[in-house]
Amino acid sequence: MAEGMVLKSDAPINFLGTVNKESGVIEDKSHELFGRSVRGMILAFPSGIGSSVGAYTIYSIKSNGSAPLAMVCKKADLTVATGCAFAGIPLIISEEEFASLETGRQVVLDTKAKDMIRRV
């Protein structure tokens, strides 16, 4: 279970080359979350894209204490799915849950509960 603030983007994320593997800051100037840190957030984005090595980036930000509390995606991709599985970051894949989120909102997320995401 995780409680935290939502950071949402409608742009997919190529973790390799977009997210700093130490700080968790988004470094791609053309990404709408440029300059923001994913650390401690409920990170919502449509899906991971691009490099398969993004799985290591997710593992790295977890090891460096810069990972999001949880991730919510619209569609599954293996880079995010395995990166989260290996790093122990809760991941929800759901178009509905993704649509219900907005940046700045405080939510409780529990992948095992019936209502996986609750507003607080």
Binding site: N14, L16, K21, E27, D28, G50, S52, K75, L78, T82
Partner: protein, 381 residues
Amino acid sequence: MELSREEECALAGEYGEMMQTAYRILVATGEATDAENLVSIEWAHLSGVNYNTIGDAGEQLLAELSKSARVKVRTTLNPMGFDADSVSRYGLDENFVSKQISIKNSYQTMGVTPSFSCIPYEIFDMPEKGTQVAFAESNAAIHANSYDGLRTNKESSFSALASAITGKSPYSSLRKEDSPNITIRMKVDSPDELTYGMLGYFAGKVGDTSVNVSGLGSMDKRQCKAMCGGMGTSGTCAKFLFEEDSSCEKVDFDEREAQKIHDELNTADRGDIITLGSPQLGAEEISDLVAMLKGRSFKKRCMVFCPRTVKEQAAGDCAKLEGAGCEILADCCTCLTPLISSDKIDSVTTNSIKGAFYLKNSNGVGVNLKPLSQIIRDETD
């Protein structure tokens, strides 16, 4: 997902912690792609080799894994950060070199073939059509599915490693069937490899797991590789289909779309140096480059990235390129190279869309995009 008794035992930890972790990754992969069961794979190709990409966390993880993990099927791997023959000339710090060697040793301890190449489809014999493989390198997965008749999903570093250790992968998505969500109509006249790279980049943005492309003329190897590299960078899509008649929704790739991508990735008017090879160049492209130069030499530094086997097999052509001012680099690639640092270099000229994305974002340098023919026109005498 339905598992056999033996697979259940592995997941329960009866064959040790390593196998349990590998099966957990496969189950996470299977659930993400709605797989019903696991299928045997014959070849795994790993990504996550360059210290620049996986960092200390990755290096330590691999050192730990290598104590007990051994690959069960033929396993090859992606480029690392440098060519050991010339690394001393590039001023890399000792920490980088020692961490990179540690990563190399970990993979070799696990039984991985030290191919250090992102173009396995060009340097190894291909298995029979329809063979299930697990390729993590995105351009290689796309090439294998689209041009080599193999079957793989767009694996991640971890899913491919789990497949290498178990010899299995979830039977889902592109392993089972092709369901392109869109047809891209190629509408750009006289395309070069840069155009095909941009077409791939566009395809990645609009495609789901596979995408159909119509209106393509005949393409050479450089153009095919550019298209695979471009798509691997921008999307989740891992296969091109080439049907002229398809019932999918249609979208045009025209000059306007190409210009949009060019504007996104081209950030400099000129480059301090030139890089060729993302994906790495094969022997055919090396000899083609010699022919295109017609005895001329580069006026500035030109880094050429290729697999070691190509550097050895095409030694004569490589010597000619060195004579023309090129630096031939084996075992590494433009993509996230530590050999280009924004401390010393402001901008790079390249013909690679994939290279451009990572040079811009990860190396933090300006990118000047040009097709190879124009690079040779402008930058040699």
